[in-house]
């Protein structure tokens, strides 16, 4: 109970919200880091997954890559990158490590989504004389959209959570509040940082779930 009170006290102290080490600035860093990494990961993973799913090739690769990705600790990747020339590059190692981390769920979900499109629908599209590109953009992608968006949501929430680890390697973001708390041996600050990250992750989850529900209605009716 004491810790909870102290944590609440720490969170409501306006001095902890302002400045370079303040909650506001750290949250902005966290948000920018997450959005940038998510966009880069989408640009890399989605076209590959959509094309592979359209052609029906490389399925084993697309599915297994997320199992392999789970075995590789992001923290280890981050530190390894930090010690390579990329490390001299500011936020470089963090961005690369987080993008590598976000690609597997995006790839797997988008690929599975493309493959789960009803084959009869695809065949009738071909029978109507649609070209490959038309089939991809007008038939398969709209029908695969729910699973693609599901992958984006999973990747985004994991990114928010994992971006915290960047602080262990000296990066920015809300994780810095936690690591600073550990260094100061201030349990209220550590718990406050943890609460902030957890709330942020849950808010992102909620917002993206709402976006998924707002996705074009016909794709849901077809299920």
């Amino acid at each position: 109970m004491n810790t909870l009170g102290a944590t609440w006290h720490w969170l409501t102290d306006p001095a902890h919200w302002a400045g370079d080490d303040g909650i506001r600035h750290r949250w902005e860093q966290h948000l920018v880091l997450t959005v940038v990494c998510l966009l880069i990961a989408c640009v890399i993973a989605l076209p590959v997954a959509l094309v592979l799913g359209h052609l029906g090739k490389g399925g084993a690769l697309a599915v297994n890559i997320s199992n392999v990705g789970r075995a590789v600790p992001t923290f280890a990747v981050l530190v390894l990158l930090l010690l390579t020339p990329v490390g001299a590059w500011g936020e470089g190692p963090t961005v690369v490590a987080l993008v590598l981390f976000a690609v597997p769920p995006l790839l797997t979900n988008a690929y599975v989504g493309m493959r789960e499109v009803d084959r009869d629908v695809v065949r009738s599209a071909r029978g109507m004389g649609m070209t490959g590109r038309q089939m991809l953009f007008r038939v398969e992608l709209p029908l695969a959209l729910p699973l693609v968006l599901n992958g984006v949501r999973i990747a985004a929430v994991q990114l928010v959570a994992t971006a915290t680890i960047a602080a262990l390697a000296g990066g920015g973001g809300l994780g810095r509040i936690i690591t600073a708390g550990f260094n100061l041996a201030s349990t209220p600050q550590v718990v406050a940082g943890a609460v902030l990250v957890a709330v942020f992750a849950l808010v992102v989850e909620g917002v993206l779930e709402a976006v998924e529900r707002l996705a074009p209605r016909r794709t849901r009716d077809s299920r």
Binding site: R70, A71, V72, A76, L80, A161, I165, A167, A201
Partner: protein, 226 residues
């Protein structure tokens, strides 16, 4: 290799045989801690998850809250999870184990419940028809049939736990993560690379071991596929 000033330790090479030779006991200790932390958390999670899944299956109303709570637990970042448990456990190995138990729980409950739900109703009725009571039905029919799904969850939980243990380095109980953390602060390339590679190798080995165990205890799944 001799300990001359320009051996691979002095040059700070990524790959260094001298490192492996001189720090063998440190590496072994870290690997043991890594294995202990992972094994303890996954086993505790398993002991909690099985009754939770069985109860959630028995009473339909219990399933949504159980799944909801475990999903929320999974959204909490590992670093934050260890921090949130700090007031309860202090800086200890129990802190890391408690955090990992909570993560493994999500994956295990979800998969065991899915496995139990996939048991065909016909099979259940047939067992009841030949006079099986609820306990015997659960132990000899439902749980064995749920095994493949449960083992899939166990494999995911184990591999995830191996990778998450490294974050425990923040409280000094991270197994190989400790070596990675220390190596980062001193720019010790050989130590970081060796520890990272060992981490992945152990995780993959554990996964293959569990896969082998799964094949041994569920021979009928293989026969069915042929």
């Amino acid at each position: 290799m001799t300990a001359s000033p320009d051996d691979c330790l002095a040059r700070n090479d990524w790959i260094c045989g001298e490192y492996l030779r001189t720090r063998r006991h440190i590496l072994l200790e870290a690997v043991l801690q890594h294995l202990q932390l992972t094994a303890a958390s996954v086993l505790i999670a398993l002991v909690i998850a099985v009754p939770m899944a069985v109860l959630a299956r028995r009473w339909g109303w219990a399933a949504p809250p159980v799944l909801g709570v475990t999903t929320i637990l999974y959204t909490i970042p590992s670093l934050a999870m260890f921090s949130l448990l700090l007031p309860l456990y202090g800086l200890s190995a129990a802190l890391v184990v408690a955090g990992l138990v909570l993560y493994s729980l999500t994956l295990l409950v979800r998969n065991i419940l899915a496995g139990l739900r996939a048991v065909p109703e016909d099979t259940r009725q047939a067992a009841r028809g030949v006079g099986y009571g609820p306990v015997r039905l659960l132990l000899t029919v439902e749980l064995p049939l749920a095994l493949p799904a449960a083992m899939a969850g166990l494999r995911i939980a184990t591999v995830s736990a191996f990778s998450l243990v490294t974050v425990g380095a923040i409280v000094g109980f991270g197994g190989l993560g400790n070596l990675i953390y220390a190596g980062m602060n001193t720019y010790f390339k050989a130590q970081v690379l060796t520890a990272s590679v060992l981490c992945v190798v152990i995780a993959v080995a554990a996964d293959l071991l569990l896969l082998g165990a799964q094949r041994l205890i569920t021979p009928w799944t293989r026969a069915g596929r042929e």
